[in-house]
Each structure stands twice: as structure tokens, then as C-alpha cells.
């Protein structure tokens, strides 16, 4: 069975949600406390959403120094799949496992609503269940979700097709701002050059159960459950 480690930092609050989503696809999910320095042989590592250390100073800035992050880095460098959702994405950027940074939303308020995104990379361990360019509706809920990077980094991300999710308008006629936070190039999620480390702002774990209205997020979890265990 696939072992999925959900890392809990003080202030993580989507930890149970991520665990349940992993278990729903038949994985063996378990929590790893941030002070532990190994991942107990995890095949997949999830960094859940929340407010690690209250998001004080900068989102993810303090969590990235937790002991468990060294084990996470080794896992990532060995090609192991790592998915950071929301605060997890922020931590991956602060830890320089992904480039760029997530800054205060351009509208200056917390934004909680469903958004539409396009899956631009359908070959990562977390998106292989989707078709390329598939459109998903997923909830976002964040105050610091504006993706920012230097021009060089942005060029590189685009040239190497490392944008995993991009915000789009719901329809041509849609009156809604597609980009909820002012992210550069409408970026909602990216991956590292090898494609095994993925960070996204939307919350697929909250949209993995059709009974709750949205089922589009389930693919993030079925993707890795189908992936070959190394």
C-alpha cells in the first residue's frame, strides 16, 4: 500500500482534510509531526494548508526550518513526490524547493471562493489523472496567494512548462475576475524541474467528494495512488 505522510506543523489546519483525501483513494495516510526528522518511509509527502506559526512574519517562513523539512528535502531530491497545498506551497517556496514567493493578495483581503483553473501539466505525480488542459473548479482560501517571481524565473517557468495550474475565467462572458489574488501570469501552481515537487494554491482536498458539491479535486489523489511505488 502507498504510504502517504501528511506533515503537521503547529498551525496546520487542513491536515485532517488532506489525510482523509489520501485515505479515500486507498492510501495508508499518517501524520508526521514537524519535529520528527524522518518521514517513516513515505512514498508521498503532503504539506497541508493552514497557518503554520500563525503565518506570522511571512507565510511559511518559520515552518521551513522545522526538522522534518530536512527529511522532506531529501525525499524531494531523491525524486519522491511532494505536494504542497496553500500553506504547503508557501513553505516550499520559502524553503527554495520551488522558486518565487507568495505575497499578500493584490486585493488585500483574504479570498475564499471557488475558482476555475486549467491543468497545464498532466504528467506530474499529482496531475496524471487529468487530461492536459482540463478545466477544474476548486476552492481557494488564502490571504497570501499572489505568486511573485523575478522576470527570469517567470520566463524559465513558462519555457520549461512548469506551470501546473493556471487561473482562467469560468466562461467568455464571466463577470468574475479569474485571478483571485493578482498572481503573475495567473499562476495557481508550479512544479520543480523534475516535476516531482508541486505547489498549488487551490485546495483539491476540499473538492474530492462529490457530495460536498465539488468533485474536481479527487484527481490529485487518484494520480499518486496510481503512480508506481518506487
Amino acid at each position: 500500500m502507498l504510504d502517504v505522510a501528511v506533515v503537521r506543523f503547529p498551525g496546520s489546519n487542513c491536515d485532517f482534510d488532506a489525510l482523509r483525501a489520501a485515505e479515500r483513494v486507498g492510501a495508508n495516510g499518517y501524520f508526521v509531526w514537524h519535529r520528527e526528522n524522518h518521514l517513516r518511509g513515505a512514498d508521498v509527502v503532503l504539506l497541508p494548508g493552514g497557518f503554520s506559526y500563525g503565518d506570522y512574519l511571512r507565510s511559511g517562513a518559520i515552518a521551513r526550518f522545522s526538522p522534518v523539512m530536512q527529511a522532506g528535502r531529501r525525499h524531494a531530491e531523491a525524486g519522491g513526490p511532494v505536494l504542497g497545498i496553500c500553506n504547503g506551497f508557501q513553505i516550499l517556496c520559502e524553503a527554495h524547493l520551488l522558486p518565487g514567493a507568495l505575497m499578500r493578495n493584490a486585493g488585500l483581503t483574504f479570498v475564499s471562493k471557488p475558482v476555475d483553473v486549467i491543468v497545464e501539466r498532466a504528467d506530474t505525480p499529482f496531475t496524471s489523472a487529468y487530461e492536459a488542459n482540463e478545466r477544474l473548479r476548486l476552492p481557494v482560501a488564502h490571504g497570501d496567494g499572489r505568486f511573485v517571481a523575478t522576470d527570469d524565473t517567470l520566463r524559465e517557468l513558462e519555457a520549461e512548462s512548469r506551470v501546473v495550474l493556471r487561473y482562467v475565467a469560468a466562461s467568455e462572458a464571466s463577470p468574475y475576475q479569474p485571478n483571485p489574488n493578482g498572481s503573475a501570469n495567473h499562476i495557481a501552481g508550479i512544479c520543480n524541474p523534475a516535476g516531482n515537487v508541486v505547489g498549488i494554491m487551490p485546495h483539491p482536498e476540499r473538492a474530492a467528494d462529490p457530495l460536498l458539491g465539488l468533485g474536481d479535486g479527487a484527481g490529485f489523489f487518484t494520480s499518486f495512488s496510481k503512480a508506481t511505488v518506487r
Binding site: 498551525g11 485532517f16 494548508g49 497557518f51 500563525g54 483581503t109 483574504f110 469560468a170 476540499r206
Partner: protein, 770 residues
């Protein structure tokens, strides 16, 4: 030095440097002659300043309910599914499968008037603690807010700050906000209302009560350190806001949601592991009220050494430590040999747990500091001897006159423009600007989020869900507190039933002016009578709540605002019914009876600038039948949508259903024919009256006959009124001899932009840079 406790005689000494207790000092502590007399008699001596502070806090309105207790006693509080009624930190009702739901509402009005962001944030923090002290995991929060009109900059500032405060706190702790309400009226300028409700889930077996038991057991302070925050918060909440309040204002309490999250996890772990005997949050009046209440509930005495309490600042006196309202703290009672294990649990959550006292057998509430006894009060009497007042209740002449007044009627009211005006009224318009700042999907259990009639969450791992709502239409309560009180409960129950859920129970937050004014106390007594009658009729016992008096500003008392929070059981979450029309071609039906009562309507208020007339009487039996019909219809999947008629009346409800939900790409439109409906009534009355007990539903064509049969069975009038239209279609309405057309695209824009447009002013937020 130690106090002796022979027949209630106790000794205590002043803390060095403390002011002597003079009549002036007694007055400053908001204690009157009668109250101070009782203290002297109880102690047989002059109290120390520390003791005076303790009395002042516990005998404040906020803690003692001295003006409301006899009235609250009339609420129905029992029922087969009541696990815990009033008297604990939160009420608890039984759910299927060994589950239970804990819920409670509380006000944070005065702190929010002074500092909207922190006031609202700490209000949410307090109510979360009330729920997790019961052993329940918070799974939903709601908020009920009132402000003055948004054309006044200060009101915009308060509104923006409160919303940000509510959001930042709940979002960080990770509890979804599933509902709430916001109202605007001139009476709230200067005294906004911030009521926060929390709903938690627990296994019934894990319920823990906040009582100190077991002589020799240890008291521990868990969580944040104690600072000089909010000293006298409870008494501050128990007086009118005035120019003088500025000076008396306690040091603002700052919320730390991060610590709250850790405290939540640690508390639940302590409770489920069985390591502790009792636990109570330190809320209003801090350590004083938490320790005194726990002692009295356990029928024991306690001794606290304030010198052991971890403080944030050096040199704090016992007085300050006892009365501090520093946030994110818990008081825990445990057997002495458990202390190391408790500290280990807390340490894992990066929190301190410090022994600060013990349970004693002499019934005395005793406080020591560095070996000196600074307070020694008979514990039971400290709580019981507070005088109870039953002030005079008399309706004011002007209130009575308002009920019989009629509005100055313009010759040809434009009924077409009226709808657009009402949808642009901030109290009616979409609150999306508010709830988009609140995380409503964290915990991945949200079945119906904000923007509909009630929120619904699923109980994890089960098929059933819980519906939650808060409601109060104060315009109806102003005109007739009794019928208004009934209407508030009826609206809450209707909202719950619209989703398909069965109303289970109530928590209430009674926001009123100064109870010593007869016309205010009249409003209070009558509104409570209305609430009690409605709760009895609906079988929804009151399991707790909160009274907030003295909501007055230099411009007078607020509109009476008895907010009701309700929870209901949805047996299968897949049966849930949304509020908005779902599919073109569905049939639209109007349930309930339209009598055309325009008293207290938004139409009169907004179009005619008139607040008056008779509050529509509430037929509780009819309401109950309507609720049961909605639930039965949902269970049999006969309903595609259900939306209750509330503020704005029938037409606003139809328009809202047609406009579509906050994230629908566009509205659906509808063709509605009311020519034969409610014969004999003026079109204005048909469209805009606020008679209660009405719901707009839609049914798939093939289900209409079945639903009509079900309605007959329940003896609920059901009128076929039209059909749902196409995407982005028009709302077409025939009434009397008139035909009205609105573009749903335009209505949608008006409805969703009303608040953002007003809040665009760049001067709104003082801490824009925060």
C-alpha cells in the same frame, strides 16, 4: 495570616500598595449601595481592593445576569435530545450514532466599538473556547453583525475592521464560517453589534463539564501568559458607551489565533485522554470568573496563588492577575499525580501548563500572593448573593403610537424601481463581500456554504449533517417585541427547514439597551416571551445564550436585537436543498399565506422612509406545518430549491432565487404570474409585505403533483406561480393589471455590487497596511 472560615467569617489583608476601599472606589467598581451592603454583611468587614475587584466582576451584568435571570427562566430548556442545557459554557444536543453537537453564541459589542479588528477577533476566539471546553471540536462559526449606515465613514471603518477580525481569527484556527447576517440601521452608529456563534462536534461520551471536584486537586493555568489586557472588561461591557468610556476603556485585548489553535488541540487531547477532572476557559473576568464558577459548580472551595500565574509583564498585582482578560487561556483541574502527563501533552503543543492553586474543602474562594491572603470570600455566596433585579417594564408612548401610524404614501410608487432599490439596500443585498473573507470550506465538510438560507456541514464519516443559522429582524422587534421575538425564531427555523433539516435547538444573544429604562426592559421581557413561545411550539429548546445590555451610545439605545442561533439535523446530506433555482422549466410554487402586512417592511423603510405599522403576527402552528412539509419534501427529493421570504418580502425572495447563487455564472430568470394570487390586495402588499411563514420553492415538472399532495397532507397552502426561465433570462412578473420585466443580469449586478460599491472608499481601513 491565613483566612479562617468559621461560619462564613473570613480574613484577608490588603496587598501592599493597594488603594484603600472608599465610597469613591466602590462607585468606580460599578457596585451600588445595596450590593456593597451585601458584601459588608457577607464578609463582616471591609473588603480588600482585590476582593472588591472580584465582586465587581462577578456581580457585573455580564457575569451575574442580575437583570435578566428571572426572564430567562421562562425559556423552555428541556427535551429528550438535550444533553446539556443552560448553565455550562455551551449547550449540547444529541445527534445520531453517539454524536452530539455543542453550540453557543456570544456578544463582543463594546470591545468591537473601541477596536473593531481585535474586538471581533477576540469575540470569535472566546466563543471557540466556550465550545472546545466542552470537549467538542469546533466545526462551524457564524456571526451576526449590526452597524450604522455605510455612508458614514466611521461605520465603514468599523464594518471593514470587524469583518477582517472575524475572518482572520476563524480562518487561522481553521474553522469554516458557514453563515451569518449583517444589518444596518442608524441606531447602531456608535454601538455596533458583533455576535459570534460556534458549533462543535463531540462524541457524547467525551462531554466534560466545567466543575472543580476533588479536594486536593490542582488548578493549572494552560496557554498564554497573563498580561494587563482588558482588566474590567466585564464591567466595561455592563455600562453605556459614553465620552467617559474612552478613559475607562480597558487595555485592548489582542487575539492570537495561532495559540488558540494549539490550545484547542491540547484541550481536546487532555479531555479525551481522561487526564483532567474539569476545564473552563478564562473569558470575561478571566481567572476570577472561571475559578469561582468552577468552584461553585463543584461545591468546593479553591485557593489560588496569583504569584504562581505566569505573567507577561513584571510587577502585576493580584488584582490585575485575577481580572485580566488576556486571551487564549484555560483553567484546568486535575489530580496532582497527573500534572506531569498534562504538562507533557501541553509541551507537545508548545504550551505551558502551570499549577496555580488547589481545590479546598472549606468552600472559601481564597487568593494568596507570596504567602499573603488577599481575598477570602465564601464561594457559594460570591455567586449566589448578587442581588437580582426585576426592573419596571413599560412600553413607551412613542413605540405604541408607531404601531398604529401609516406611512405617507406617494401617489404612484414605482414598484419596478422598488425592487432594484431593495436589492441595493445593504441589509438585503448579497453579503458576498463579507463571506468571501471567511474561509467556508476548511475541514472539507461544507455541504452548503454561505449565501443561502442556512449553512450545512456533514458529520465526518456519517451520512448526516447539521444545518446552522443565525437570524434577527430587529425592525419587527422594535415595532412589536412579542411578535418580533416569535418572528426571529420562526425565521431561523424556516431557514433550517429550507435546507431539509429538522430544527433541533436554539442559542440566543439578547442585545438590548439599558435595562434600567422601563421601555428597554419592556422590549426585553416581551421579546423573550415571544422567543419562548416559538421555541415551545417548534420543540427547539434554548440550550444557552448570552445577554448584552447597555448597548447605548450618546444617540440612545440600539434597536432591540435578540439574535437567535439555531441548529438542525439533516438525516442524509444528499437530501439537502439549495436556495436558488436550479434548472430552466422547473415550476415555481409559493408556500404559505400572504396577508399583505406591510408593517415593519423593508419596502416601507426604504421606499417610503417609514418605520412603523403592525408587525405581521406569527402563526406558530402554520410555521410548524410549513417546516415539516419542507423536511418531508426534501426527504422525498421533490424539491429542487427552497428559499424563505424574509426581509423585502415575496418579490425579493423570488428575485434572489432567480438571480442565482454567488458563484453561478449567471441568473436563470423566471416567469411568474400572481394575477390570481392573494385577491383583493394591492400589488405593493402582495410583492413587498413581510408576512412570515412563506417559502418560494421550485420543483421539477414531474414532481409538482406529488409535492402538492404532500402540501395538502401538511395543510400548507401551495400556489403554482410560474416557471424558472433560461440562463441570464428575464424576471417577468404579472400582478394586478401590470407586467414587470427585469433583466436578471442587471438584478444580479445590483445585488452583488451593493456592498462592494459602498466599501470602495479608500479611507475605510485605518490599518490598510496591516
Amino acid at each position: 495570616m491565613t483566612g479562617s472560615a468559621i461560619a462564613g467569617v473570613t480574613e484577608a489583608s490588603s496587598f501592599p500598595g493597594e488603594r484603600p476601599v472608599t465610597p469613591e472606589v466602590v462607585r468606580e467598581h460599578n457596585l451600588n449601595q445595596l450590593e456593597y451592603g451585601r458584601i459588608l454583611e457577607m464578609l463582616g468587614r471591609t473588603p480588600t481592593l482585590t476582593e472588591l475587584g472580584v465582586f465587581s466582576a462577578l456581580w457585573s451584568e455580564h457575569c451575574s445576569y442580575k437583570h435578566s435571570k428571572p426572564v430567562l427562566k421562562r425559556f423552555p430548556t428541556a427535551g429528550p435530545h438535550v444533553v446539556q442545557g443552560p448553565g455550562e459554557n455551551a449547550g449540547v444536543l444529541r445527534l445520531p450514532g453517539g454524536w452530539a453537537v455543542a453550540f453557543k453564541i456570544e456578544s463582543h459589542n463594546h470591545p468591537s466599538a473601541v477596536e473593531p479588528y481585535q474586538g471581533a477577533a477576540t469575540g470569535v476566539g472566546g466563543i471557540l473556547r466556550d465550545v472546545f471546553t466542552m470537549g467538542a471540536r469546533p466545526v462551524a462559526v457564524l456571526n451576526s453583525l449590526r452597524f450604522g449606515p455605510l455612508d458614514i465613514p466611521r461605520n465603514r471603518y468599523l464594518f471593514a475592521g470587524v469583518v477582517r477580525g472575524v475572518g482572520d481569527y476563524g480562518n487561522c484556527v481553521g474553522v469554516p464560517t458557514l453563515g451569518g447576517e449583517v444589518g444596518f440601521a442608524p441606531g447602531y452608529t456608535g454601538n455596533p453589534l458583533v455576535n459570534a456563534m460556534c458549533v462543535g462536534l463531540l462524541r457524547e461520551d467525551d462531554l466534560i463539564r466545567a466543575a472543580a471536584h476533588g479536594v486536593g486537586n490542582v488548578l493549572l493555568s494552560v496557554g498564554a501568559r497573563t498580561g494587563r489586557d482588558g482588566i474590567h472588561g466585564a464591567s466595561f461591557a455592563s455600562e453605556e458607551l459614553s465620552e467617559k468610556s474612552e478613559a475607562r476603556r480597558p487595555q485592548v485585548q489582542v487575539g492570537d489565533p495561532f495559540t488558540e489553535k494549539l490550545l484547542l488541540e491540547a484541550s481536546l487531547e487532555l479531555i479525551t485522554s481522561g487526564l483532567i477532572v474539569g476545564i473552563q476557559d478564562m473569558g470575561a473576568a478571566g481567572l476570577t470568573s472561571s475559578s469561582a464558577e468552577m468552584a461553585v459548580r463543584g461545591g468546593v472551595g479553591v485557593e489560588i496563588d496569583t504569584g504562581l500565574v505566569p505573567t507577561r509583564e513584571a510587577g502585576m498585582t493580584p488584582y490585575e492577575i485575577l481580572l485580566s482578560e488576556s486571551q487564549e487561556r484555560m483553567l484546568v483541574v486535575a489530580e496532582p499525580h497527573r500534572v506531569p502527563d498534562i504538562q507533557a501533552v501541553c509541551a507537545r503543543w508548545e504550551l505551558d501548563a502551570t499549577p496555580i492553586g488547589r481545590v479546598t474543602d472549606d468552600g472559601i474562594y481564597r487568593v494568596r500572593h507570596d504567602g499573603l491572603t488577599v481575598a477570602a470570600i465564601p464561594g457559594q455566596r460570591l455567586v449566589d448573593d448578587c442581588p437580582i433585579y426585576e426592573p419596571e417594564a413599560r412600553e413607551s408612548e412613542s413605540a405604541r403610537a408607531r404601531r398604529t401610524a401609516v406611512p405617507p404614501s406617494p401617489p404612484n410608487p414605482d414598484l419596478h424601481a422598488a425592487l432594484e432599490l431593495l436589492l441595493d439596500t445593504p441589509g438585503i443585498a448579497s453579503k458576498r463581500w463579507v463571506y468571501e473573507q471567511y474561509d467556508s470550506t476548511v475541514q472539507a465538510s461544507t455541504v452548503l456554504g454561505p449565501g443561502g438560507d442556512a449553512g450545512v456541514f456533514r458529520v465526518p464519516g456519517t451520512d448526516f449533517g447539521v444545518a446552522v443559522t443565525v437570524d434577527c429582524n430587529s425592525r419587527l422587534v422594535v415595532l412589536d417585541p412579542y411578535e418580533g421575538g416569535k418572528a426571529v425564531v420562526a425565521e431561523a427555523a424556516r431557514n433550517v427547514a429550507c435546507t431539509g433539516a429538522l430544527p433541533l435547538g436554539v442559542t440566543d444573544c439578547l442585545n438590548f439597551g439599558n435595562p434600567e429604562k422601563p421601555e428597554v426592559f419592556f422590549q426585553f421581557v416581551e421579546a423573550c416571551r415571544g422567543i419562548a413561545d416559538a421555541c415551545r411550539a417548534f420543540d427547539t429548546p434554548v440550550t444557552g445564550g448570552n445577554v448584552s445590555f447597555y448597548n447605548e451610545s450618546p444617540t440612545g439605545a440600539i434597536d432591540p436585537t435578540p439574535t437567535v442561533g439555531m441548529v438542525g439535523l439533516l438525516e442524509r446530506v444528499e437530501d439537502r436543498v439549495p436556495s436558488h433555482f436550479q434548472a430552466p422549466g422547473d415550476e415555481i410554487l409559493i408556500l404559505g399565506e400572504t396577508a399583505g402586512e406591510l408593517g415593519g417592511s423593508a419596502y416601507w423603510a426604504e421606499v417610503h422612509g417609514f418605520i412603523g405599522g403592525r408587525t405581521p403576527p406569527v402563526d406558530l402552528e402554520a410555521e410548524r406545518r410549513l417546516q415539516l412539509l419542507l423536511i418531508a419534501g426534501a426527504k422525498r427529493h421533490l424539491l429542487r430549491s427552497a428559499h424563505d421570504c424574509a426581509e423585502g418580502g415575496l418579490l425579493v425572495a423570488l428575485a434572489e432565487a432567480a438571480i442565482g447563487g454567488p458563484y453561478a455564472p449567471e441568473g436563470l430568470g423566471a416567469r411568474v404570474d400572481l394575477t390570481g394570487y392573494a385577491p383583493g390586495l394591492e400589488p405593493a402588499a402582495v410583492l413587498y409585505a413581510e408576512d412570515t411563514g412563506r417559502v418560494v420553492v421550485s420543483c421539477a415538472t414531474g414532481r409538482v403533483e406529488d409535492f402538492l399532495a404532500l402540501a395538502r397532507e401538511h395543510r400548507v397552502p401551495a400556489c403554482r406561480a410560474g416557471r424558472v426561465g433560461e440562463d441570464s433570462g428575464e424576471l417577468e412578473l404579472r400582478v394586478g393589471d401590470s407586467l414587470f420585466l427585469w433583466s436578471t443580469f442587471t438584478l444580479r449586478r445590483i445585488y452583488f455590487e451593493a456592498i462592494p460599491r459602498r466599501m470602495q472608499h479608500p479611507d475605510v481601513d485605518r490599518s490598510a497596511g496591516e
